[in-house]
Amino acid sequence: MASSELHAPREEEVRHEHPTPRKYVWIAIILAIITAAEVAIYYVRALEDFLVPFLIAFALIKFIMVALYFMHLKFDSKLFRRFFVTGIVLAFFVFTVVLLTFFLRPETPGVTG
């Protein structure tokens, strides 16, 4: 949290125009399509090799769209975004490491290893 950020408060206060309901509906339609695509590729055998990256990418897009538009992170204070992103990044980092210690554990961990 750079102090400059926190101390330009008045501008933050100025409400940016929220999206219109129309826009919300559009976003929901996109989300619905992505969900359908997710389920679809799950069943398409040909895409088996790409399944996981595709799924992750789709989920990520959905996640980000909901956060940015429905939760207004796109229009709201950077500070909020930072709280949230810190939580996500931290969780991602530490739990990746945790899981790696399980999945990459050598056959025969040595004397102190």
């Binding site: 961990p109 040595g110 004397v111 102190t112």
Partner: protein, 340 residues
Amino acid sequence: MELLKRLSASGRRLLLGVVVTAFAVVASACDTNVGPQDYLSPEGPVARKADGLWDLTFGIAVAIFVIVEALLVYTIIRFRRRPGREAAQFHGNTKLEVILTLIPTLILAGLAVPTVKAIADLSDKPEGALNVTVTAKQFWWQYEYPDAGVVTANEMHVPTGQPVYLTLEGADVIHSFWIPKLTGKQDVVPGRKNNMYFVADRPGTYWGQCTEFCGLSHANMRLRVIAQEPADFEQWLAEQQEPAAGTVSGAAAQGQEIFMGTCVNCHAIGGTEARGTTGPDLTHFASRETFAGSMFRNTPDNLKRWIDNPPGVKPGAQMPDYGLSAQEIDAVVAFLQTLK
């Protein structure tokens, strides 16, 4: 209070420094006070490797300690309030701050290299090792020599000069295997296999104990490693491969009968129908110097007390009190003593 008051201000501050340094000195001198689990006097290459790192780290730590504490003491003496002196008003000194950040960084980077190297060295599986499978249970140790088909408890016999490669398996809760003079700890985790190795330079009995809290008798979950010349070790191994001595007579026979009635459920004796696995294998029980997690010397009196009421003499022991009469206990003990 009077005494403190009479001490001059600087004297008091000096005292502070003295107390603090005294501990550093005592701590460094403590090598001389060697106990059976003192790991600053290693007896094998694995423990020695750790010890070498310790000497380096401890040296650096003491140096940093002395320098920084001396600086602190100097500061508080030099800048104590005196009439007519005003505090200098400055807010920092970037150059100095950067230097004082870099120095520790460099020292630590220097320390990191041998540390990582040692970790890597020690994680290699040694050549030509003797394999032993260690199973930790509340509150005793089982050792299996898979290549020889020998199972024993609490006292591990190993040859000198040859690496001993342990596979550690947990049965109930987490324990930790440790023989300070030979090697550091390795946890024994249920559901996992861990490995470690050590080498004993010289024959002797090395003490160790469980170091992961595992319940009531964690304190009593001790162990011994008995290092022998390779020839002696081979002989021991050969003896262990023999079944228990054949027929017994007298009180021992009565003891055997009781044993085969009750104790079989948990204990095994090679060459008999006793095949229980809950408790230690007793095939050559009488050849052990200690029992029950090396808590007791293996004497008839101790044995009697043990069988009379195991949880009474060893809190939480997983062997129940069978309410045997004194006479029956004598008989059982007589029997156990035949298990050479």
